[in-house]
Symmetry: C2
Subunit: 239 residues, 2 copies
């Protein structure tokens, strides 16, 4: 309840941006490479359900179309990876870490000029559970940035539970999405995309050089899930 006598609480054009001061992204087409895996399908489902036009990409166009049809959301269709990249404004990379560099190199031309959102978590698994792999380039996102010099690479959507994303009975995804990027405008676009999903916020969380810990924190969330039989995510407090 701002009053003239309390100008210090009146919002102004120069006030600190909140996580909701973001561009309108409702008309952007979002592609999801590796969109037939659980994480990719989950993201496609939630963004499509929020009204976004989404293209699920796969090396096999038929598999992509089957996955899209399975989600039963009007705005979600399937295509091969090349067409997906070409037809999208924003392209989410949800491929397995094992094929990451190869697939990005292959699509370098189609991804030029696009906002790329890497959500890959390089992890290893053994008897004691999950552990972080350290990519030579520092992180999956930094590898993407090196392989795609003409794209605007960001990193986000690492800490979401595919189980919750794909559960039609779940109305809200009460989890924050840490968005990393060296280009402020691209990061804001990705934050805005995250904010399209009810319950979700896109929180700017630093430059790509700080992506490794965000990616590998998934190993810790897997430990949390095992211990508490949960589908853990993260909220950033005080924002």
């Amino acid at each position: 309840m701002p009053t003239p006598s309390a100008p210090h609480v009146t919002p102004s054009a120069t006030s600190t941006p909140g996580p909701h001061d973001l561009p309108d992204v409702s008309r952007l087409v979002v592609g999801v490479l590796g969109g037939t895996g659980p994480q990719g399908r989950g993201l496609a489902y939630r963004l499509g359900r929020a009204g976004q036009q989404v293209v699920i990409g796969s090396r096999d166009a038929e598999r992509a179309r089957t996955a899209a049809t399975g989600l039963d959301i009007p705005g979600v269709r399937g295509a091969d990876n090349t067409e997906t990249a070409r037809d999208s404004d924003v392209v989410i990379i949800a491929v397995p870490w094992e094929g990451h560099s190869e697939q990005l190199e292959h699509l370098r031309g189609e991804l030029a000029g696009k906002i790329v959102v890497d959500c890959v978590n390089p992890l290893g698994f053994d008897k004691q559970g999950a552990y972080a792999l350290k990519p030579h380039e520092g992180s999956a996102a930094q590898q993407a940035a090196l392989l795609l010099p003409d794209s605007r690479v960001t990193a986000a959507f690492h800490h979401l539970s595919a189980v919750l994303l794909l559960d039609q009975a779940v109305e809200r995804i009460d989890t924050d999405v840490m968005v990393l990027g060296d280009d402020r405008e691209s990061a804001a676009t990705v934050q805005a995309l995250a904010a399209r999903v009810p319950g979700m916020r896109g929180i700017y969380a630093g430059r790509l050089r700080n992506a490794h810990q965000v990616e590998s924190l998934v190993a810790n969330l897997i430990s949390v899930n095992r211990r508490y039989k949960a589908h853990a995510g993260l909220r950033v407090t005080d924002v």
Copy 2:
């Protein structure tokens, strides 16, 4: 409201442990090495305010006593690092990363048999902000475990804002503490300590080999704080 006809919602001895099923730690003495810095003083203040016996440690006993007196909490006293380690059941390591290995080696004998809680974040800073340093041993916590083979090393308390911890007007610290450790009993003790502070929960978040990303995520929280003028922390959702 469990009823005989709904046994699946009735809590039982075999149900999944929640973050509140923890040992009673109210009689343990907690030492804080590096307790004169903001993070150390903040933790000492919050634990002392929660009724814990706390010893603030410093290389200079007089500085430690001054810091303890400044907090104005009956259960908090100051001592040199050696006495602090010797007199405590649980010892929090809150020294700067630069002196970490040296100080731990020096106190190896006094820390034998104790639960050690490493909360050190190895970070570098430049014009673009904070970035993760990668210790040779993998993380500060793993370095501690190697240097203190006779201690029970855990890692926790990385993501707390010293500003909030030290603000006497702040009643609750609404942030979760990720607790890492290879020994379940030690981790549970540290989780219980965290849970002594109103608003705080101690969440088991994996083994020490997954400490690096938890430590270095502080670089991301610093970016969050800059962008949103916040004192950001984390909550684990669905637990």
